[in-house]
């Protein structure tokens, strides 16, 4: 497929140069490449040198039927008029471990904490993995995984397993009178 950024194409490692492609439409136009999880730090360092200096976010997607987690790193550049690059990798679901990139991009420190508490992914080299948004609020399995049914957990914990239906009273507001009319 076509590729419009020559600087990015030069700086990528050899084995990914012909896998770079340009996808998307409207505001989602971007360059995209799929890499192996061992090379993630090297690829991100070259992308930083090519001019993409801001990390927008790290999206984690769970595919239980294929047995993988997919991580998508979204990076953008201010000099190149807001261009976007996405880098995708896949790691195994049974033992999800990957290297951290928080010394290359400062915002990745907090996005990785979020990936740890919602999906259970360990990042090697990160010294602050903990429950940050869900602190003191959730004591179960990582909630955003597909085999955790949070509706059932809440129903059994707080409502004893049955959904509460309000009893019919048949008292409408106009017979009762609202506070505005009861002057």
């Amino acid at each position: 497929m076509k590729c419009f950024d020559a600087e990015l194409l030069d700086k990528l490692p050899e084995k990914y140069r012909d896998k770079l492609c340009f996808v998307g439409s409207d505001t989602g136009k971007r360059h995209e490449v799929t890499v192996d999880p061992e090379d993630i730090r090297e690829v991100l360092k070259t992308v930083l040198e090519a001019g993409y200096q801001q990390l927008v976010g790290i999206t984690v997607i769970d595919y239980p039927d294929q047995g993988v987690f997919e991580l998508v790193y979204m990076l953008t550049s201010i000099d190149k008029k807001g261009a976007l690059v996405t880098i995708r990798t896949r790691i195994l679901r049974d033992n999800p471990v990957i290297e951290t990139v928080s010394d290359i991009y400062p915002l990745a420190y907090y996005q990785e904490i979020e990936a740890y508490e919602f999906f259970g992914i360990m990042f090697r080299g990160h010294n602050g993995l903990r429950q940050w948004i869900l602190e003191d609020n959730w004591a179960g399995p990582p909630p955003l995984r597909k085999d955790v049914d949070t509706r059932k957990i809440v129903l059994e914990l707080y409502y004893g397993g049955k959904r509460y239906e309000r009893p019919v009273q048949n008292r409408s507001l106009e017979e009762h009178g609202s506070w505005g009319e009861k002057q």
Binding site: E165, R166, V168, Q169, N170, R171, S172, L173, E174, H176, S178, W179, G180
Partner: protein, 153 residues
Amino acid sequence: MVLKQLGLALKYLFRRPYTRMFPIKEEEYVTGRTRARHILYMDRCTGCTACQMACPADAIKMYYIEGDYPKNRRKIFPGIDYSRCTYCGLCVEACPVSALVMTSYTMQHLITDDKKTTLYTPEMLAKPPRGKHLVTLEKKTWTPPPAPLPKKR
């Protein structure tokens, strides 16, 4: 140094306040599109439960009502729980026979001190509200054209 600001303060000192004294002196502010309480037309409803599947807040529940309604063979009608409704209007868009409409009889009239009055059964919804109201959202006034989707690969 602060003379300009003192002048402004004097100008605003003698203006009338911007408060709207509802309900003692003025009416509430209602436009031709304000969405609030629903009305159900029981002779059009067929009991298909499309409104229950379209509600994002889980506020519609179907009740079994006996009566002479020839279009509704399953004899179920929707009732709305107003402590959960968000007044988005997706139930009105989903109904295929336009049996649900929304009026402008707003929540400023429906504020109450008793929570039991917020659950409305279908018969209570079928009675039109007692005060002044306008019918603001109904399905038969608009049906947009279908989208030009790209061809499948």
